[in-house]
C-alpha cells in the first residue's frame, strides 16, 4: 500500500481537479474535448493491456470501439432503449463477441503476422460498416438519437463529462486491478519471456486470447460512450486511422503504464484540435512531436515521469518528512530537559 501512496494521492488530486473543472468555468468546448479524452482514454488504456502488458500490438482496436458505438446507436434508434446500463453492457458484450471471433483468427500468428491480420480484420469491419447499409446506415452512419437523462440528472454536456469521467475512473481502476492481478502478472511474463512461461506450464495462447477479449470489452464500452457523446456512429469510429491513433496514444503516454495512455489521449486530442486551427500543416507538426517522443522518450511521457519525476518527488517528500520529524524532536527535547 505504501508503495502506491504517492501515486494514489497524485491520482486522487488529479481526479478532484478534473471533477471540479466544469464548475470552475472550463469553457464548453473544452468540456467536450475532455469528455472525448476520457472516452478515448478508456480505449487507449484497454489497448495498453494488450500492447504494454501482454506485448501484443493490435491494429483491430478501433473495430471493437466501433462495434460498441454502432451497438449503442442501433439500440437507441431501432429499439428505443434508453438505459445506459443496458446499451453500454450490450456494447461491451458485442465488442467482446467480435473479439472472440477475431482472436481465433489473429492469434494463430505472432508478431508481425498478428499485426497484419488485425489490420486486415479492421478493414473488413470497416468495409462492412460502409456496405451493410440496412444495419449501419452506410457512410452516413446512424444518427437521430439523443443522450437519455443520466439517472436523475439531465444529459447536459457537463453531466455527461462527469459521467464519462466516472466511467473512465471505474474502467481504469478495474484495468489496474487486472494488470496487478495474478492474471496480469502472467501477461507480463508472456511479454517478457514467452518461452519460460510455456516451460512453467502456462498456456500462452489462452492468456493472450483472454487479454484480447478484455481489451475489446473496454474498447466496446468506450465506443458506446462515444456514440452517446457524438449522438452518431459512423464508419470513422472503426476506421484504421483510429486504431493507429489509439496506438499512438499508448506509445506517447507510455506503453505498460496504464495511466500513460490517458495522458496520450489528452495530448493527441488537444494537440490535433488546437494545432488544426492554427495551421494546415498540423499533421506534420504532430508527426514530428511523435517521432521526437519515440526517439527521446521511448518509454513514453508517463514512463519518463515515473522514472525521473516520481523518485525525486519521493525523495523530496521523504526529506521534508525527516526534517519535520527532526524539528519535532528538537522541539520536544527542551521540554524533556526542563
Amino acid at each position: 500500500m505504501r508503495r502506491y501512496g504517492l501515486r494514489l494521492s497524485l491520482v486522487l488530486a488529479g481526479v478532484a481537479i478534473l471533477a471540479a473543472l466544469p464548475t470552475l468555468g472550463l469553457p464548453p468546448y473544452y468540456v467536450s474535448l475532455f469528455t472525448q479524452v476520457f472516452i478515448l482514454g478508456i480505449a487507449a488504456a484497454a489497448l495498453d493491456l494488450l500492447v504494454g502488458q501482454t506485448g501484443v500490438v493490435s491494429f483491430a482496436h478501433a473495430s471493437f470501439f466501433g462495434v460498441g458505438a454502432y451497438t449503442v446507436a442501433i439500440l437507441c434508434t431501432r429499439y428505443n432503449v434508453s438505459s445506459y446500463v443496458i446499451t453500454l453492457l450490450a456494447a461491451a458484450a458485442m465488442a467482446t463477441a467480435v473479439a472472440a471471433l477475431f482472436g481465433l483468427v489473429a492469434l494463430r500468428a505472432e508478431g508481425v503476422g498478428f499485426l497484419i491480420i488485425t489490420l486486415a480484420l479492421n478493414q473488413i469491419v470497416w468495409g462492412l460498416a460502409y456496405q451493410w447499409v440496412a444495419v449501419t446506415g452506410g457512410e452516413n452512419g446512424i444518427t437521430g438519437f439523443f443522450r437519455p437523462p443520466i439517472g436523475p440528472f439531465a444529459a447536459s454536456n457537463v453531466n455527461y463529462y462527469l459521467y464519462a469521467l466516472a466511467a473512465m475512473l471505474v474502467s481504469v481502476a478495474v484495468m489496474w486491478v487486472i494488470s496487478h492481478s495474478p492474471f496480469g502478472l502472467v501477461l507480463l511474463g508472456i511479454r517478457e519471456r514467452p518461452r519460460r512461461m510455456r516451460a512453467l506450464g502456462y498456456n500462452i495462447w489462452s492468456y493472450q486470447y483472454a487479454a484480447f477479449l478484455l481489451a475489446a470489452l473496454f474498447a466496446g464500452l468506450a465506443g458506446g460512450l462515444f456514440a452517446y457523446y457524438n449522438a452518431f456512429a459512423s464508419p470513422a469510429d472503426l476506421a484504421l486511422p483510429l486504431s493507429t491513433q489509439m496506438l499512438i496514444m499508448v506509445i506517447l503516454g507510455g506503453a505498460g503504464t496504464l495511466f500513460g495512455p490517458l495522458l496520450g489521449a489528452a495530448i493527441l486530442i488537444f494537440l490535433s484540435n488546437t494545432f488544426s486551427s492554427l495551421t494546415e500543416r498540423w499533421p506534420t507538426i504532430l508527426g514530428i512531436v511523435y517521432v521526437a517522443i519515440v526517439m527521446y522518450a521511448p518509454e513514453g511521457l508517463l514512463g519518463i515521469a515515473q522514472k525521473r519525476l516520481l523518485p525525486s518527488l519521493n525523495t523530496w517528500l521523504r526529506l521534508r518528512q525527516r526534517r519535520e520529524v527532526s524539528a519535532a524532536k528538537q522541539s520536544e527535547s527542551p521540554g524533556d530537559a526542563a
Binding site: P27, S32, V133, G141, N230, L271, S277, E280, I293, Y296
Partner: protein
C-alpha cells in the same frame, strides 16, 4: 534520456499555452458589448477539410469563400466579416468536434461547410440542437433536404440525383442510348447518382443491363470493365477525386469503345487536367461548369484566376454562392444575425439572378432550384473544359415528379430503383 524530459516539459508547456490562449478568447470578443459605434463583426465559421483525402476540394471551398469576401470588401451588410477556419479532416467525428469549437469556443454566427455527405450528416443533429445557421454548399446526399428537413441548415448546392434525373432522359432521348451499364462508387453518393439516372432512363424506355459497384478503395477497375456486356450503347459512371482520374484513364485504356457518360463530379475541373486526354468526349450533367458562357461566370472565372493562379471548380463556385446567399440574407435583415431562425428563413428566401451558375432560388425544402447543364469535355487550345451543350432550366430536386409521390418512394440505393 535527459532530452526526453525536456521534450515532455515542452509539450506540457505547449498544452498550457494553447489552453490559456484559447480560453482567454471568448472574454475578449465579448468586451466591445453594447457600446454603439462600430458594427460588431460577423463571425463566419468555415468548416472544411484541409487535410486528409478531401484536402484538395477543401482548398477550392476555401478559395470560393475568400473570393466572395474580397469582392464584398470583407463586409456583409456593413459588418466586417471575421472568418474562423476549422479543419474537418473529411472525418465526421473531427467535423463534429470542430463544429463544437466554432459554436462553443469561437462563438461564430454561422457556418459554411462541410464537404462530404458523412460529415454533413454527422453535424445535422448538433447544428439543429445549437440552432446554428449553416450553409451546406457541397454536401449532396439527397435525403438531407427531403424526408426530414433540418431546421437550421440551408443547402445551396444540389442533390446527387438532381442532375442525373434530367440526364437519364437526355441520354435516352437526345443521345439515343437504349442500353446502358453503370459503374459507380458503392456508397450513397454513387447509389443516388445512379438511382436518379436509372429512374428516368428506364421510364423513357431505356434498358440498364448491368450495375457494377467496385468497393470504396478499389484502384484497379479492369475486372469491372471486363464484366460490361459488349452490346451496350454507353456506360454511366459516378466517381470523384483520384478515383475519377483513375477510372476515366483506365476506361480509355481498356478500349471498350463505347461512349462514357457520368455524374458531373467525375470530370470536375478540380481533377480534369490531371485526368488528361482520356476525358475528352465524356458527357455529364452538373449545376455548374467553369466554361459556362454568362457574364457573371466570366467575371467569376477571371477574378478567380487572378486571385489564385488557377481556375475554379464546382467546389469553389458552390462555396462562393453559399457565402453569397448568406450575405444576401444578412443584407435583407439589415445585418442583424441574432435571430437565428430569421437568418435561416432569410437565406431560404434568397433569390439569386446573377450567380455564376445562373439563377438560384430555394424550394420549400431548403434545396436550390437551378439550371442543370449537360456538358461535354472538350480540348480547347490544349486545355480541357466542360463545354455546355444543353441546359435544363430551373430543375428542382424532384425533377418533374410531384414532391409527394417522389417522397413516398425510398431513398435511392443499391436496390432502388430496381433494374428492369
Amino acid at each position: 534520456m535527459r532530452k526526453g524530459k525536456w521534450i515532455a516539459l515542452l509539450l506540457a508547456a505547449m498544452l498550457l499555452l494553447t489552453a490559456c490562449s484559447t480560453a482567454g478568447k471568448p472574454a475578449g470578443t465579448q468586451t466591445p458589448g453594447q457600446t454603439v459605434a462600430p458594427p460588431t463583426p460577423f463571425k463566419l465559421g468555415l468548416l472544411i477539410p484541409l487535410t486528409g483525402v478531401f484536402a484538395a476540394p477543401g482548398k477550392y471551398m476555401q478559395e470560393g469563400v475568400q473570393l466572395l469576401l474580397q469582392e464584398s470588401d470583407n463586409k456583409f451588410a456593413g459588418r466586417p466579416v471575421e472568418v474562423v477556419t476549422a479543419d474537418s479532416q473529411g472525418n465526421p467525428q473531427a467535423a463534429l468536434t470542430q463544429a463544437r469549437k466554432l459554436v462553443e469556443q469561437d462563438k461564430v454566427d454561422a457556418i459554411i461547410g462541410p464537404l462530404s455527405a458523412a460529415e454533413g450528416n454527422a453535424l445535422v443533429q448538433y447544428l439543429d440542437g445549437q440552432q446554428m445557421p449553416a450553409v451546406y454548399p457541397i454536401v449532396s446526399s439527397d435525403d438531407l433536404t427531403q424526408r426530414t428537413i433540418p431546421k437550421y441548415i440551408v443547402r445551396t448546392g444540389w442533390t446527387s440525383s438532381q442532375t442525373t434525373m434530367p440526364f437519364g432522359e437526355y441520354a435516352y432521348k437526345t443521345l439515343g442510348y437504349k442500353k446502358v451499364a453503370t459503374i459507380s462508387y458503392d456508397f450513397s453518393f454513387g447509389w443516388e447518382s445512379v438511382g436518379g439516372f436509372v429512374q428516368t432512363f428506364q421510364e423513357a424506355g431505356g434498358k440498364v443491363v448491368k450495375e457494377l459497384w467496385p468497393p470504396l478503395n478499389e484502384t484497379n477497375y479492369q475486372p469491372y470493365l471486363s464484366q460490361i456486356p459488349k452490346d451496350v450503347d454507353a456506360v454511366f459512371v459516378s466517381f470523384s477525386g483520384s478515383a475519377a482520374i483513375q477510372f476515366v484513364q483506365q476506361y480509355k485504356q481498356f478500349g471498350l469503345g463505347k461512349p462514357l457518360i457520368a455524374q458531373g463530379n467525375t470530370v470536375d475541373e478540380s481533377t480534369l487536367q490531371a485526368t488528361g486526354p482520356s476525358a475528352v468526349g465524356v458527357v455529364t450533367p452538373l449545376h455548374y461548369s467553369a466554361a459556362l458562357d454568362n457574364p457573371a461566370n466570366k467575371k467569376f472565372v477571371a477574378d478567380y484566376e487572378k486571385a489564385f493562379g488557377h481556375g475554379p471548380a464546382y467546389y469553389a463556385e458552390g462555396s462562393y454562392v453559399g457565402a453569397m446567399v448568406l450575405k444576401k440574407a444578412l443584407e435583407s435583415l439589415n445585418g442583424k444575425s441574432d435571430d437565428h431562425a430569421a437568418l435561416v428563413k432569410a437565406m431560404k428566401a434568397v433569390n439569386l439572378t446573377d450567380a455564376p451558375r445562373g439563377p438560384v432560388k430555394m424550394d420549400e425544402y431548403g434545396n436550390p432550384i437551378q439550371n442543370v447543364y449537360i456538358r461535354k469535355v472538350e480540348d480547347v487550345g490544349g486545355k480541357l473544359q466542360n463545354t455546355v451543350i444543353y441546359t435544363y432550366p430551373n430543375v428542382s430536386q424532384f425533377w418533374s415528379y410531384d414532391p409527394k409521390t417522389f417522397l413516398a418512394h425510398p431513398v435511392f440505393s443499391r436496390s432502388y430503383p430496381t433494374v428492369k
